[in-house]
């Protein structure tokens, strides 16, 4: 079988995605066309781009099988995911665009439910939908599927945007149990019954924390596709620093553990859709934890950042029994089409 074709693992959000995009796009664009002058663009892998000081823009395409799942649907996912990308840049979302592609034969009732979810979230958070597109693909090319792309615009209200750059001494905080959304989808795909519900939701409350601890939060990311493992590896690679995670401190729900035991998946590789990972200055760790608790989060401080010695840009996991392993960027097939 020829390897010179796109494989499902190219879309895992991990190493293969990175390598393919490097070849197709990043290596072929000159630096001045990777960002707006003075801003942040694809020269810096982050949730979104920064244009002219305080304007943030982010985009994401969503495809998930099945498109209805406990706790949400692809409509929630598409709106929430992009809003979170904007929020993780430290910006308040001000507008959204959407672009929907469905296959011929797709049930209109389903589509109505999905767009209903999108509208519900936009109303709840008062974000106008200012533009969009709608396309249909022949059934021979794509069967009973839907892809939703959304673009989110946001404004950084005070101070600068959060451009991810972890520093030695930083603490890694997650705002809740990881891998829930990924476990729900995996359970459905592997036909495992579970009481889990996806954690999908926009994280507007975090803007308060970002404002309060302006300058002390060195990175913020919602660990969606590829999970916490991808987020931490990207942070480590961006700066060359080493991130150390204490496995026992990473919150994982019992039901998520059960799904991962059966499927052989790792909770650290599974997507969260309503959780953020933050790298905060060690000085304000306790205060940030308290602030998050005050907002109803169940945060956990799971690790720290150290200066690299013999190897740069890696993530080390200390296990419960006192051993250690390298947490690699996820590779191969994780869960097909998870988000």
């Amino acid at each position: 079988m020829s390897y010179n074709k796109v494989q499902i693992s190219h879309g895992n959000g991990g190493k293969e995605t990175q390598q393919l995009l490097q070849r197709l796009i990043f290596s072929r664009l000159p630096l001045e066309l990777k960002r707006v002058k003075g801003g942040v663009g694809i020269d810096h892998p982050d949730d979104g781009a920064v244009l002219h000081d305080n304007l943030v823009v982010a985009t994401d395409s969503h495809t998930v099988n099945p498109y209805f799942f406990p706790g949400g649907d692809i409509g929630y996912l598409a709106v929430s995911g992009t809003l979170n990308d904007v929020i993780m840049m430290g910006a308040r979302p001000i507008a959204m665009l959407d672009s929907i592609v469905v296959s011929e034969g797709f049930p209109i009732d389903d589509l109505e439910r999905i767009t209903g979810s999108m509208i519900e979230l936009l109303k709840k958070h008062n974000v106008p939908l200012v533009g969009g597109d709608f396309k249909v693909i022949e059934e021979t090319a794509m069967r009973n599927s839907i892809i939703i792309n959304t673009v989110g615009l946001g404004v950084v209200e005070t101070g600068g945007p959060i451009v991810d750059a972890v520093k030695p001494g930083d603490r890694i905080i997650v705002t809740g149990p990881v891998g829930v959304h990924g476990a729900v989808i995996a359970a459905m795909q592997y036909n495992i019954s579970t009481s889990l519900k996806s954690d999908v939701r926009p994280l507007f409350e975090l803007l308060e924390v970002f404002r309060e601890f302006k300058g002390y939060i060195h990175a913020a990311r919602d660990p969606t596709r590829g999970g916490l493992a991808t987020t931490l590896n990207e942070w480590a690679q961006l700066t060359g620093n080493v991130i150390v995670i204490e496995e026992t401190k990473v919150p994982v729900l019992e039901e998520v553990k059960a799904v991962t035991e059966i499927t052989g998946l790792d909770p650290l590789n599974l997507a969260s859709e309503g959780v953020a990972a933050l790298a905060v200055d060690g000085e304000v760790e306790d205060e940030v934890m308290e602030a998050l608790k005050g907002l109803g989060f169940e945060p956990a401080s799971v690790g720290y950042v150290v200066e690299p010695k013999s190897e740069r840009g890696i993530v080390v996991v200390k296990t419960a029994v006192g051993g250690a392993k390298i947490l690699e960027m996820p590779t191969g097939d994780i869960v097909p089409r998870i988000c």
Partner: protein, 395 residues
């Protein structure tokens, strides 16, 4: 505390017990090393899941330098000969519905590396063949009953999988249109082969073995008694949590220290009986017979496989379709050292292709294909030296 949490607290997250066992290992290792006059104490496992536990929980980073935990033949997919996969691909292309497990689906044959050849069951499916991935034999049986189409089940596995096949044959549940292509392997003959090879090649000998927990639940701890009895090598059957493996290593050191090596130690008492599951053994024996089997990259190991008995020859794909066993021909891709990794002679990192031409996304050799393959496990969690070095740096 709920039961799963309790089990985790006891066997998985028990840092205090892990520390205490590790301290004892560190205390005993230099004494044993001096007593045996061996610089390195090699302890071999025979189960992909033991290798996974060892690597996933970072147990090598806890060992003193003298102790080397090495993976032995423990991955059924890794040792399935290319000729078997080729035969089944041929049947798939001829129109048989082929049922197989997910790992086997991706397994490359030697032809995989030549252009314009169908080199895996995945490629066969891409060329239009009807290849279906199942999670168990029972799924294949039910699907074949439903379709009524001429079908073949590609039977991979060790003693743990064999009873699930045997019981359906024995109970007459397998439909006539479903043939069985056996590539079943037995663990003990290969384990013995690997240990003998270390001796005959003048390598650092294997000083202790960790017997496979789930295979032993079928064949019994008794099946490993030949190691202490004939080779003077301590054996421990352990479970699959980090505490199990650590306790196993300590027990081996204690046996080496006292020199009282007489029978297999059973750490995994909560699942394994000394004599194993005699019902399952009887089922296997009624349906299957031991045969010489080819191990990929290694060759034929006498009486190391299982095939259907004569009473079931109507189901035997080889017999019914006149498939002749060809003499073994070296069946690893160029440069691949999967055979040496399987026998514990080389670490995955000794292979120049590891994480270069051979990665989990683009596996070159069979040990990188299966989740249980030592190379795939190491690719996910890093090699021993790397971890040991980095741990000392971040401490």
């Amino acid at each position: 505390m709920e039961l799963p949490k309790l089990v985790d607290a006891l066997f998985r997250e028990n840092g205090a017990l892990a520390r205490s066992i590790t301290e004892q290992i560190h205390k005993l290792a230099p004494i044993v090393s001096k007593k045996l006059d061996r610089e390195r104490i090699k302890i071999m496992n025979f189960c992909g899941s033991h290798e996974w536990v060892t690597t996933h929980y970072g147990l090598r980073a806890l060992m003193p330098e003298t102790i080397e935990l090495i993976p032995g033949p423990g991955c059924p997919v890794c040792v399935t000969p290319s000729s078997d996969v080729e035969n089944v691909i041929k049947l798939a292309l001829e129109g048989y519905t082929v049922y197989t497990f997910g790992d086997v689906f991706k397994l490359p044959t030697v032809k995989h590396y030549k252009q314009d050849e169908v080199g895996s069951l995945a490629a066969a499916r891409a060329s239009g063949a009807d290849v279906r991935i199942v999670y168990s034999f029972i799924d294949a049986v039910e699907d074949a009953k439903r379709t009524g189409k001429p079908s073949v089940f590609f039977g991979i596995g060790f003693e743990t999988t064999a009873p699930s096949y045997a019981v359906l044959f024995e109970k007459g549940k397998v439909p006539k249109n479903l043939l069985f292509y056996s590539s079943l392997k037995l663990t003990a003959p290969a384990a013995e082969f690997a240990v003998r090879l270390h001796r005959s090649k003048g390598l650092v000998p294997v000083s202790g073995v960790i017997g496979p927990g789930h295979v032993s639940s079928i064949i019994g701890a008794i099946s490993w008694d030949f190691f202490p009895k004939e080779y003077g090598i301590p054996a421990v059957v352990t479970g699959f949590e980090p505490i199990d493996v650590l306790a196993g290593v300590l027990k081996i050191l204690q046996d080496l220290y006292t020199g009282e090596v007489t029978y297999t130690n059973l750490e995994y008492r909560r699942v394994v009986k000394y004599r194993g599951n005699e019902f399952a053994q009887a089922e296997i024996n009624r349906v299957f017979k031991p045969v010489d089997a080819i191990w990929r990259g290694i060759g034929t190991i006498p009486k190391s496989g299982l095939d259907l008995r004569e009473e079931y020859s109507a189901y035997n794909a080889r017999e019914q379709l006149g498939i002749k066993e060809r003499p073994w021909d070296y069946d690893l891709p160029p440069g691949c050292r999967c055979n040496e990794v399987t026998l514990g002679i080389a670490y995955p990192t000794d292979c120049p292709l590891f994480m270069k031409a051979c990665t989990p996304a683009r596996p070159w050799g069979p040990c990188m294909v299966s989740m249980e393959g030592a190379c795939a496990v190491w690719a996910r969690f890093g090699s021993t030296e790397r971890i040991t070095r980095i741990v000392s740096e971040v401490r």
